[in-house]
Structures are given as C-alpha cells and as structure tokens.
C-alpha cells in the first residue's frame, strides 16, 4: 500500500525507534515479573530466561501472601494514593477555576505562588514536615501521608488545570449563571466534565510518584499498621541476606493496582493529549 503521506523507509524507521524505546522501557518490568515466578537458584543462574517447568516456583508469592500484613500494606497504599489523588484533583481544580475565572487583585501573583511548588522539591522540607507532624500528633498515621502528598501534587495540578480551564467557553458559564446555577454547580456540572481529559492527565502524573514513594512512608509512617507497599517490600531486603523471591513477587504485585488505575485514566488521557489538535 502506498500513500502520499507515508514512505516505507520512514515508516520502518519510526517503528524501529518506537520498538527500541518500548523494549528499553519494558525490560526492567519484564525481568522483575518473570523472575518473580522462578526459584531462587534460577534467578541467579539465568536471570533473563523465562520460567521453565523446572525453574517455575511460586515460593515468592506464597511468602509474600503468608506474611499476613501484606494485604494491610496494599490497603494502606491504596487508601493513601486514592485519598491524596481525590484531594489533589478536587482542590487543584477548584483553585484553577478561581484563578482562571475570577479577576481579582493579585491573581497572577497567586497563580505564580501556587505554581512555585513545582520547582521546589517537597523533600527539602522533610525536617519541618516531621516536626509539624510530631507536634500535631500525626506521626504514624495515614493522614500524615495524605496531607503531604496532597501538598506535593497540588502545584502541578493547579498549573495544568488552570490552563485548561481558561479554554472553557465563557458563554457556557454565563448561560449557567443566567439559568440560576450557583458557582459551585457551574464548576461541578459544566466545567469539570469539559476538562475531564486534563484531569486524567493530572491524575496519572500525581498518582505514580505517590504510589512509588518510599521517603515519606519511611519517615512519617513506618509503624507496622501504616506501612505502604513500597515500604513493606523493603522488609525482604536485609543488610546481609535479601529474599529476592519475595522482593520480586511483592514488586510484581505492586505494579497491578497502579496499572489498573492507569488503564481507567488512559482513555481520558489520550483525549487529553490530543485535545485541541482536532476540533
């Protein structure tokens, strides 16, 4: 098939580049997943070969699942991620709406101030955050993590969403005002559905660092009852002996929920990326 818009060498070149990138991106994940199904000896002897009937071993998974608390870790991670995500999206969208919709003194300054957090890593403030959490008695609670992650995710959310909110037609909002909708109804019923693709984009960017974070769970909530999955998986990494079967199994399991969340958002995400490209 020959078309005016594509030549064979160019197509081959593009696919080669994309396939190479895909292989590089997927390689570590695939290695983790295939080795999690192998016996300890096989992991070290042939780390790159898929499990065969001799080397196939579920010991890692049984260890992880029998380590009773693992479901709790999972649950903690999910609670923290979903709660932070919800708060980031809610408050981020609300702030973005206010910044893009209302003209008030200091509007631009406020926008810049809210976006400042993108440039300053929140971890710089760890000591102060810890002191704050100790003082307010929130150490070793999931609330502490939710609060920190909400603060961490907000700057980018406000920044991206306010750009998108500016594109929502003024006429539509005004039509709502004439029909007697409150500002909250205009925000939730008219504006939010229209910026849904950008919300999905922000959700993915916010969710992944939270799910993978080791730093704050280790510092703010290391107790048995509040461990997250990434912190829980460290249990199997010892100073002298590391239980690789269990570590790999735990990591493989940890990929699943975030993958599911990603799939939920990805349909919207693609629309978010292409929005504006075609009418």
């Amino acid at each position: 098939m020959s078309r005016a818009t594509a030549s064979l060498p160019r197509t081959v070149g593009a696919h080669a580049a994309l396939l190479a990138y895909t292989a590089i991106a997927l390689f570590p994940v695939v290695v983790i997943v295939i080795n999690s199904f192998k016996s300890r000896n096989a992991i070290f002897r042939t780390p790159l070969s898929p499990p065969t009937s001799e080397t196939f071993d579920l010991i890692g998974y049984t260890m992880v699942l029998n380590q009773g608390d693992f479901f709790l870790y999972f649950q903690n991670s999910l609670i923290v991620t979903v709660a932070s995500l919800f708060l980031v999206l809610l408050f981020g969208a609300m702030a973005a709406f206010a910044l893009s919709e209302y003209r008030f003194r200091g509007n631009t300054l406020m926008g810049l101030y809210l976006a400042l957090g993108i440039m300053i890593p929140i971890r710089l403030g760890t000591v102060a955050i810890l002191q704050l959490m100790v003082a307010s008695g929130l150490v070793n609670t999931l609330t502490a993590l939710v609060l920190v992650y909400t603060a961490q995710g907000l700057p980018l959310a406000v920044f991206i969403l306010s750009e998108f909110m500016k594109q929502v037609s003024d006429d539509l909002k005004n039509a709502g005002r004439i029909d007697g909708l409150s500002e909250y109804r205009i925000f939730f019923r008219l504006v939010l559905p229209l910026v849904r693709p950008s919300m999905a984009t922000v959700a993915v960017f916010t969710m992944i660092p939270i799910w993978n974070d080791l730093w704050f769970p280790l510092i703010l909530a290391p107790s048995e009852a509040t461990k997250t999955i990434t912190l829980g998986a460290q249990l199997f990494i010892g100073q002298y002996v590391t239980n690789w079967n269990a570590v790999l199994a735990a990591l493989s399991l940890a990929i699943l929920p975030v993958l599911v969340l990603y799939l939920i958002f990805s349909r919207q995400l693609i629309r978010g990326i292409t929005s504006g490209a075609v009418k």
Binding site: S169, D171, L172, N174, A175, G176, R177, I178, D179, G180, L181, R189, L190, P193, L194
Partner: protein
Amino acid sequence: MGSLTIDKVKKSFGRVDVLKGIDLAVNDGEFVVFVGPSGCGKSTLLRIIAGLEDSTSGRVLIDGADVTVTPPANRGIAMVFQTYALYPHLTVRSNMSLGLKQIGTPAAEIDRRVTAASTMLSLEPYLERRPAELSGGQRQRVAIGRAVVREPKLFLFDEPLSNLDAALRVNTRLEIAQLHRRLKATMIYVTHDQVEAMTLADKIVVLNAGRIEQVGAPMDLYNKPANEFVAGFIGSPRMNFIDAAKLGEGQAKTIGVRPEHLTVDTGSGAWKGTVVHAEHLGADTNLYVETEKAGLLTVRIFGVYGAEAGSTLYVTPDPQRTYRFDADGKALA
C-alpha cells in the same frame, strides 16, 4: 412587562473607559438592536444589562425596578449567545428546562412550556438528542428555545447569527423576526452587521467608542444620519465621503452621497471618471469609479450594467439626497 432603562452607565476596565455614560430607554415589546464596530462596547453594555458584568457607575432598571446589583438569574432575562453555549452533557429537553427547574417550576408547567417552544421552533424530533448531534442552525434554535421557555421580560441576543453560514443566517434572522412578532416580547440584540440591524430592529442604537452616536428607527438612520459615523456605518455599500473643498462647497467639511444615489452616464454628467473595478451581482452592479473631481466613488446601479474596468463614465449625484457634515462630523441641515 418588559421595559428597560439605562441610566448614565459607565464601565472601565482599569484605565480603559469602555462605556462613557450610556442613557437609553427601551419600551415594552420593542426590538432594539445595538450595532457598532468591534470594540465599541455593545457587548459589554449587553452583559451589564444581563448582570454578567458590573457597571462602574450608573443604574439599570428593568420594568422600573433597579436591578443594578441583582444577580442575572433574578433579573427576569434570558440570553442567547454567539457560541450557543448549550450544556454539552444534557439533552435538548434538559437544556431547555434547566433554568425552570432551578427556580422550582412544577414539572407539568415545564413540560408545557418546552413543548410549546419546541413546536414553535420545530425542535420536537431532537428533544432527546444532545447538542453534539445537532447542526449549527439547530443548536442556535435550541439556544433560542432555552430563552423562550423562561418567558423572560427581556430577551438578550449576543451576536446570535455570527457562527452560522450565510444561508442559515438569513433563515434564522427570519425566525427571530417571527418570534418577536409572535411573543411581542422586548428584545435586545447585539450585532456588528448593519444588515441584521436594519432588517430586525424597531429601533437601532448605533454605538461607537463607548458612546451612543444615534438612536432611531432604521429608516430614520438611513435617511437622517446625525453624523458622519452613522452615515458611514448604516447602508451597504458604504456612503461616499467627498472633501467639500474639492467641490467648492462653503460651510460643509465633507459631503456624503450614498452609492445608490449616484447615477452614471457615458455622455455627460457632473464628475468625469474612469471605472477601476466592476462587481456584477445580477440584481445590482457596484462600480468603483475614480473621478477627477471627487476621488474614488462607489456607485450602485440596480440591475445589470455593462461597464468594464478602464471605461470612462460621468457620475452625477442626486442633489436631494446628498448629506453635508461639518468639521466635527455633525450633519448640517
């Protein structure tokens, strides 16, 4: 039940004065069109009437009640927007009934009004569709229907035809005119298109640079423009303005003649000139003639007129229908 008074309304955005003191009275049942070039403040004035924008000073009265600080929903108005502004996630029926639901109108009454409006605008087959499934003309009819069901004291139209193609624009214009005749409601309509203004209005308000230039019936504005701006804005093609000094006219600064009030002759006439360009439209012919005495003139001839670029013609103005303007642009009697 639908009069409007605008009392010394001013509006500034920062240091820019967009409206410099507007006084206007609109009677019940009138169709008033605000017309003017872009940036003249006509949309801002409409938004102040709607309550979507606060005026810097001055008052707005609807039916004698001061609504200057009343929120839009409580002013008894309905508005039709240029971009239709339909709620994308709601069906046509819900789009039309949302405003009534908000104020707690009984379901039976909502149903009655939606049915009546959709019959009037032939929208019945589309009631359960969403805006995305409708064409531009249908969407604008839904937007008009949404205004009609509210049974407002005042209809506000913000350039409702600008997004439609030429053929639909004429149809929708006709529908709006019929709607006004049937409902006998007060309507305020903003446009930059003087043809829409002339065809729809009982009363035209010509705005320029934040001021009202003239208010009057379409034919008054056409026949008796108060100043050079109105004379140039109303009428298409535009009125010819000729430097009075060239013609040896004493008191006036500028002489205005409409293209349709000029006649041409190949043998003799007032001003000799050369045809620069000819536009043959069938019903009329527009000639652009470079005259020796009066400069470039547009001449509109009814019917077909065979003239090609480069030919020599004599142009003569109708002496009864020339306008004279002083140095400030004011019309002289």
